[in-house]
Structure formats: C-alpha cells, structure tokens
Point group: C2
Chain length 197, copies 2
C-alpha cells in the first residue's frame, strides 16, 4: 500500500469501535476519492468537536458549554435526577424526549471482572448533588446486566440515608418482541412483574 500517511490513517481508523483494518481501508479509499465532499468536511467537523466540546462539570455530559444545556436549563425539573452509565445512554434517553429531569453520568458500572470499584465512578459528586440540589427522586437508568444491577443496588444502599425516592426503569418484554424469541430470564421476570389490565 503506497504512502506511509495512508497506512497511518488506516491504523488510526481501524482502532475506532466497530471498525477493523478492512473497513478502515474502505473508508480511507472513500475519503481519498471524495476529498472535497467527504475528507475535508470530516476534518472540519472533527476540528470543531475537538475545539468546542467539553465535559459538563456537573453531570458529565458533552456539550459546547459547561454546565451543559441540560444542567443549565430552567425548564427542566431539578428534583428528578436520572443516573446513567454513560453519555451514550443519556443521548438515548434524550432521543425519547419524555424525561424532563436532569442527568448524572456515572462513567461506568461496578465490575468485579474489570476491577471497577466505587471510587472509579462518579459517585461522590452524585451524593453531593442530591444533598445540595433538593433532589426528590433518583431514577437509576442502569443497564439490565449483572454489573448494572449490582451498581443499582450499591447506589440505593448509599442513598438510603438521603430523603429521596429511588426508582429504576421497568424490566420486561420489549415492544414488538415475539415471546418465542425471548430468553427465559426475561420471560420469568415479566411473568413475576405481571400487571393487572
């Protein structure tokens, strides 16, 4: 492959999530062929993000300002705080555009396997926020995995001395799913949490 520069770019792109060397090569070729419409606009967009985007000092979201637009919003309800694992999950919640409270990004979940302990997560700032911002409800929107649920349990034990209601997202059968294709754990859980019609 000609050009050390091309090799270097392929390697950089291959390191990105969900990409490998083969797709990185296809992307680099595409960029080289469409320099004006693809390569240069991509560089510009990356530069803008690198220059302008920062981490919100309050919740951990990414935005052009800190505090971020969610934290500084006057129309959102500071009394409800949604705790998420990651900014990706905050974005997912925002796409639903139904939640009108504020967020707190933990930066991960506890994990014995990966050696993630409470001190690695954004927990102390969360406790301070709950104490100082008059929070009344904490929604633990953590992943429905073992680690996510352990983290939720740990957080609820840390929060029991605060005068806040602690809730989690409902678990059950996702919309549009065929029972036949659901795993047994989900079916059992949905059965145990069944509701009156």
């Amino acid at each position: 492959m000609a050009g050390n520069e091309i090799e270097k770019l392929v390697k950089q792109i291959a390191k990105l999530p969900s990409l490998g060397t083969r797709s990185a090569r296809r992307i680099v070729l595409h960029l080289l062929k469409k320099k004006e419409t693809s390569l240069l606009p991509l560089i510009e967009a990356l530069n803008e993000v690198a220059t302008n985007i920062q981490t919100c000092e309050i919740c951990g979201n990414f935005d052009t300002v800190s505090p971020c637009s969610v934290c500084s919003s006057t129309t959102r309800d500071s009394k409800i705080l949604c705790v998420v694992q990651d900014v990706a999950d905050l974005w997912a919640m925002e796409r639903v555009s139904q939640f009108k409270g504020k967020y707190h990004v933990l930066g991960g979940v506890l994990s014995a396997l990966e050696g993630v302990v409470p001190e690695d997560l954004n927990i102390e700032p969360l406790l301070k926020r709950i104490a100082s911002e008059g929070v009344q409800e904490v929604v633990l929107a953590l992943p429905a995995t073992v680690d996510g649920q352990i983290t939720a349990h740990y957080l609820s034990s840390r929060l029991k001395d605060f005068n806040v209601k602690i809730t989690t997202l409902a678990q059950g059968i996702p919309m549009g799913a065929e029972l036949d294709y659901m795993d047994e754990g989900t079916l059992q859980l949905a059965l145990n949490s069944r509701k009156a019609l």
Copy 2:
C-alpha cells in the same frame, strides 16, 4: 443530543462506507472520551493524507508523489501491466507482493445498470500506455462479476490490434473452501477448467 457540532460530526461519519448513525454515535463518543489518544491523532492523520496524498497521473494509484512509487520504480517490470478496477484492488494485489509489474486503475467497470460507459473509465490512457511503454502482457485483474467480465471482454476487443498478450486471473475454487458450500456456477467453472495433476 447536546451540541450541534456533535450532530454534524455524527452525520459526517455515518456517511462513510460500512457505517450508520448508530456506529457513528459510538465512534464520536469514543473520540470525545479519548481526545488526546484518539481524536487529535485522527485529525492529524487525516490532515496529513489531505495535504500529501495525490492521484498518480500515470496509473491512478494514490501516493505522496506523482508518478507514484510503483510507476517510478526501476526494479518493476514495465512490460507487464495489471489492469484493476479500483485502488483497493491494487492494494490487494500489492499485499500478495508477488506481482512485479505495473498497474493501471480503470476507475470502475462497465455497467448497463449504473450507466457506466467506456468513456467514463480510464481506458484511453491505458491504450496510450500500452502503445508507448512497450507493454507485452496485460493482466486483466477485474472482478469475477458479470460487469467485470463484460469489461474484460470489451478491453480485450479494444486491445486485439495491439501486439500484446492478454491474460486474466484464474477462476475456480478459492483456497480452503468446502465444495459443499460453493455455488454451482463456481463448481461448474472449476470442473470445466480442470487441470491435469
């Protein structure tokens, strides 16, 4: 999702081959989280490619110089010219590092469906090269698709008045393949082109 800059970058990345909005979002988050080790080096690598890489005026390859390092090589055999559809295929041939001739990038194949006619391809420069560079063999390394084979036939008819040997890549069963999993077309072709052991 906070920040117009982030949205713009997600859109740019989602347009790249083999990526969509979901993977673009994951990539942007990854870049934002690893600004020093991922975002800034990526921008640098893209900038270097944008500034330094150009299309070779002779063969159509991408390189820092034009004529490219393959075309200007004195150790490669100018008498054998390998015609490929795309720079990706040139790179694939180079990874085998067995071919020691030179290349010519067509820039596509003829296609009735997509309206690609001979004038859209890099054919006239190919004929000029064959006439002027003392080429003795033209290897048509075109895809084994209907369009690729039509293009190979068209090229060989255009080349019949030149005093050159025209060859194509062998077709048959790929290495490591189970007969059971091969399509009938390939099996039939492999049987018809069978060789004495």
